[in-house]
């Protein structure tokens, strides 16, 4: 039996300002929890009845909503070195529109302050769980929410820049035109991505799992096949470049639907070497997202068993060879082979 898709992930923590205090969000075993809201369910009911929900719960709800959103795979990271940066001004803008706790006028409790304060810095705590911000210390200087006038000025500036661009290079699909409203779903997604790298990978894994053979959307993969193929290709290409030193543009990927882990083959149709791969979508969730796509010169193709920080995997030394079983271990974010 396959291990749970989240079994190779360690927990990840983030802190955010919620109400008058500093609250913690924890991702563990595939779910995001607001640790300082023990009666989350009750709060949600109150929220549904017209009361305010908290920034923590807004994020938890948003996480659930985006756990099968293919946009996450389109925007999200492609490799460990691929860092996404959400600028503070954008975050303030989306916070103003996303979630019932959104309006900027809410002051210190607004989640923009939180996400700005963490600023995407991620450190690995001694307990090996990911922490965002600095655990046990006072939070860094928190920028004040951007007032409406400043936001308006910023929009104007954006428009000027875009209008100028329009004149130079042609019309472009660009945001910020009068009368347009920020898309709520995108605003939520930006706030989730702003939680930092560890959360970005975990959210990507959740989406990939949802569309994998064991996921909730397993019954309707046809609609998503092109997006999933591109998601696989976009993530396997840098891993294959690291593994075999092939040109990422020469990596050809198909979604593997059948039994087994898939297949890998190296061809040389012309001067360039081409890697032809067939992998299941679940590979993204269980192998790529935890960060062990390539371990000590092996491409990991499947997970046999996992209990973070260790995992038993099937890995291929070179294309065309049969995969071998390896034991690997996470040591401060770096996976290495412990038993061959």
């Amino acid at each position: 039996m396959n291990p749970a898709w989240w079994a190779a992930f360690g927990p990840a923590d983030a802190s955010l300002r919620c109400g008058d205090g500093e609250h913690r969000l924890r991702w563990a075993e595939g779910t995001l929890q607001a640790r300082d809201h023990p009666d989350a369910e009750g709060e949600l009911v109150l929220g549904a009845l017209g009361g305010d929900t908290s920034p923590c719960l807004d994020l938890v709800i948003a996480w659930g909503k985006h756990s099968d959103d293919l946009t996450v795979l389109a925007i999200g990271p492609r490799s460990a070195s691929d860092l996404l940066t959400i600028p503070a001004a954008i975050l303030a803008e989306v916070t103003a529109v996303s979630g019932p706790a959104g309006p900027l006028s809410r002051g210190p409790g607004n989640p923009a302050a939180h996400t700005v304060s963490i600023g995407g810095t991620v450190s690995q705590h001694s307990s090996a769980a990911f922490y965002v911000g600095r655990s046990g210390r006072s939070p860094r200087r928190v920028p004040r929410p951007m007032p409406a006038r400043a936001l308006a000025w910023r929009r104007t500036r954006m428009l000027r820049g875009h209008a100028g661009y329009g004149l130079v290079s042609g019309w472009h699909g660009h945001p910020g035109w009068h009368g347009a409203e920020i898309d709520q779903a995108r605003a939520e997604l930006i706030r989730l991505l702003a939680l930092g790298g560890p959360f970005q990978f975990r959210l990507s894994a959740a989406v990939a799992h949802a569309w994998s053979a064991d996921g909730a959307n397993a019954g309707r993969p046809e609609r998503a096949r092109p997006a999933l193929t591109a998601a696989l290709a976009g993530r396997l290409a840098p891993a294959a470049a690291e593994w075999l030193d092939v040109d990422p543009d020469e990596v050809e990927v198909n979604v593997h639907d059948g039994a087994g882990w898939g297949e890998l083959a190296l061809t040389k149709p012309g001067k360039a070497t081409r890697l032809q791969a067939r992998l299941p979508v679940g590979w993204l969730a269980s192998v790529w997202a935890p960060g062990f796509a390539v371990v000590d010169g092996h491409l990991v193709v499947s997970v046999l068993d996992a209990a973070w920080p260790t995992a038993q995997v099937l890995a291929v030394r070179s294309p065309g060879q049969d995969p071998a079983e390896l034991a690997i271990r996470d040591d401060k974010g770096h996976w290495s082979v412990t038993v061959r």
């Binding site: 954008i90 954006m158 875009h162 019309w171 472009h172 945001p175 991505l193 290709a233 050809e252 198909n254």
Partner: protein
Amino acid sequence: MTAASEHAAPDRERAETYLRLQAEAELRRALAMPHYKPPRDPLPTRVTRMFVQARLMRRRRAATDRIMRQQASGRQSRRGSQSRAMPPMATTLREIRRAAKWLDGTRRAAAVPTAALVRSAARSSSQLSARVQRAARPLRRRFRRGLRHRGYDAPPAEACLTRVETLASVFAAVGAITTQTEEEVVDGLRAALAARRRIEPGNLLSYHGFRGHPMRRRATATTAPPGPPRAIPVGAAASGEIEGLPVRFYLGVLVFDHSGATLTVRARFPVELEEQDHGHMDPVFDALTAISAVDDRGATYRSDFSGGGGGGEWNGRLHLSPTPPPGVRWLDMTVPGASAVRVRLDATPRDLQITTEPVTTSSTERFLDAQTIQLLCREVTGLAWESDDDDRDEQPRFRVVSHLLAAGLLRTESPSLRRLATAAARLDTPLPGPLAAVEPSELPADWLSLLSRSNCTDGPTGAIPIAVVLPEVDGVQCVIVELVSDSESATIQVHVRGWPEPRQPFRVPSDQIWWSARDDLGGGYLVSEGGSSWGNGEADLDLEISPAINPVARVLDIILTGTTTQVTVSVPLDWQEGL
């Protein structure tokens, strides 16, 4: 990277996969580029500019104060000085008037030959300039790249986004993907680039209401009025007067649609009238805007003019307000300096032959043929692809064709691809990559005739109020309003309901509905959009026909080709005055 979808999938899936893989490849390319930092002037420049602006403002304020003071003191002393100044001023004014009258006479005498001379010189100059520009383009481009731009510099990664946008729009245009997929893919890449600081961070946001620029909005789904639009031929000319100078007006066709009633109008006048502007408003424009109407029941209507002109002619449309209600029999249009022109609302359009047939070629083939004709027309008209902008040279279209081939939407033995190869060979333009191996074939006869008449300036002069409502094509209802021709070109005025709004107007054109024309002698014509206005899901288009219509031709077939249906209307070329 290639899309090797072996899954038994329709072309759409393969095309979408290919497009998404291209987006991934472009993202990788962009990741190799540095982070984008919006350009900012250095500190000394900013400080200097601040001081210079402050000084400029002080000067302006001082000048304004001085003028105000002078005016105030002038008003106080005017009464006393007026009686003494009058006698010499009156003499001077008389002399000035006499001189002005003499000058005016001379100018009138010289106006017509001068205008013809200027037009001819302008034409020669424009042709020469086009030739020089074409020759100097590579050099200028190289030189320009070496210079540091001032002001807004597009992030380098925008080029990656542009390539995917172009490809996506073409794929959508040929029906290989849906417009929703097109938007998803482009929006995803845009946000991915913004999140990695490769383009403006504001691109991370997505807006609804409409996505992006208003030019890319979908036509708004307004409730269409029952029945098709209605077109009433008018075809009336009248001689009027503006500022004492004779003006000839021509009222073409009245069109009723959801957005109201629109009457096509043209005015021809002596060139010197354009020089008499008042407060920077053209007197002819003022006069056209002042046209009003009264109906048989005594109700009055005002009109707003939209259009343009110059060189002694204005063309456009009068938008009547309010819309004449049903039951009105006629409108008397009050044209400046002329007696009322009666527009009968019960006039019936001519009975023209309209042929509807299914489209047998694929969207991709039609797209490719349109590209090839455009390419050929670079030689014919000198209009297309004359810009220095990198996006407008031939490479994007060849690149797009290569992608169509790679995505399986086109095969190397495709007849249209072979025609493209022929056109490229004819223009001595090498085809890149896999296209280089394509075997050329013969060009169709009407394309060749188009080339043979490229420099003709013997087109008939006149107008034909066509006023025909075409059967619906792909959800688009067109009214061919009028055909206007002169010695060098011709224009078809069209009113449409449900016309798709322009997509990426500065890149490879990727319309889903194409216009073309052919005369009864087998001559083909290029029909391209010259001007347009949009609103409420309706549009008015000015379609330019080139080359000039063959003066011997007796019938012109105007052809509208959609994805499934092609409609041809045969218009007998019996020209009216039309100015």
